[in-house]
Symmetry: C2
Subunit: 172 residues, 2 copies
């Protein structure tokens, strides 16, 4: 077992001044490290037996689709505004600076399907909690969240539904 | 064996007027269909034994990371301008309307690593050929391309390096 934090690069002032960005791309380059980093999220799959794994655009796609394909579970994308073709439902939400919108194809979720949501990073929880509301609005059953990194000092967990299982691999 | 084209939705006038967009998201929802759709690309991995699988942002991430994680091969993202933190190299290229830029983290590719490039769609080949040049510029060895869908009437293959293996799952 290596210390996964050694595979997270810190980049100052990205994407804007004052933010120290955690780059997890080095994890994906090394299949053994990647496997180790996925353990908490693989465990989430075992404990929740989801029908669908939803990934949040675009870094969440990397983890969610890997997990879904290997475990033979369906994958659905949750995307930013205007990226999904056809019929979508969406929710606007506020960010620290400005606002954003997440969308999903409602036909991708059968009524009461058990869904887990995957993203690379849990920070303030605004994106993840909006994604959860979107699954509920599409009549899916939200049963869990999985993240590769959690910035625990930002208290993102408190914004998420306390009744679902939340797993993070690397906690700061 | 089902006809995979039954799982591709056609959306008129997306993302702009006159374009019929092929939505392959229905494939990912069904793990057995997804597996069948990946056969050609899984075969590319067997035939080329890559060290790294590069996915093009953002729909290419879905396929590339799934393939990489399951086969225990490293994954690297090729992203649009300004999305990768830290040191990057990039190439600008022309699209039918306007221009775009792809970037990669040069440290993600060890010299002479064997790399395959994965994207969801091969259309005119502009994006894929630029991604190939980027791998070469980063001193990787480009050995293959894999796509889920190829629009053969747009002749994208002719823009790609003829010395590398090119595989597509669903050909129109």
């Amino acid at each position: 077992m290596v210390n996964l934090k050694n595979y997270v690069s810190e980049i100052n002032d990205f994407p804007k001044h004052g933010i120290v960005f955690k780059d997890i791309n080095p994890i994906y380059r090394d299949p053994l490290i990647w496997k180790q980093a996925m353990r908490a999220i693989e465990d989430l799959v075992i404990k929740t037996s989801p029908d669908l794994i939803a990934g949040i655009e675009s870094r969440g796609f990397i983890i969610a689709s890997a997990l879904a394909y290997k475990n033979e579970i369906g994958f659905i994308p949750i995307r930013k505004s205007g990226k999904l073709p056809g019929k979508v439902i969406g929710i606007n939400y506020h960010l620290e600076y400005g606002s954003d919108r997440l969308e999903v194809e409602p036909e991708s979720i059968k009524k009461n399907s058990r869904v887990i949501i995957i993203d690379d990073l849990l920070a303030t929880g605004g994106t993840a909690s909006t994604a959860g509301k979107l699954i509920t609005e599409a009549e899916g059953q939200l049963i869990g969240y999985g993240f590769l990194i959690e910035l625990s000092n930002l208290n993102g967990r408190k914004k998420l539904n306390p009744e679902v299982l939340i797993k993070s691999s690397i906690i700061y």
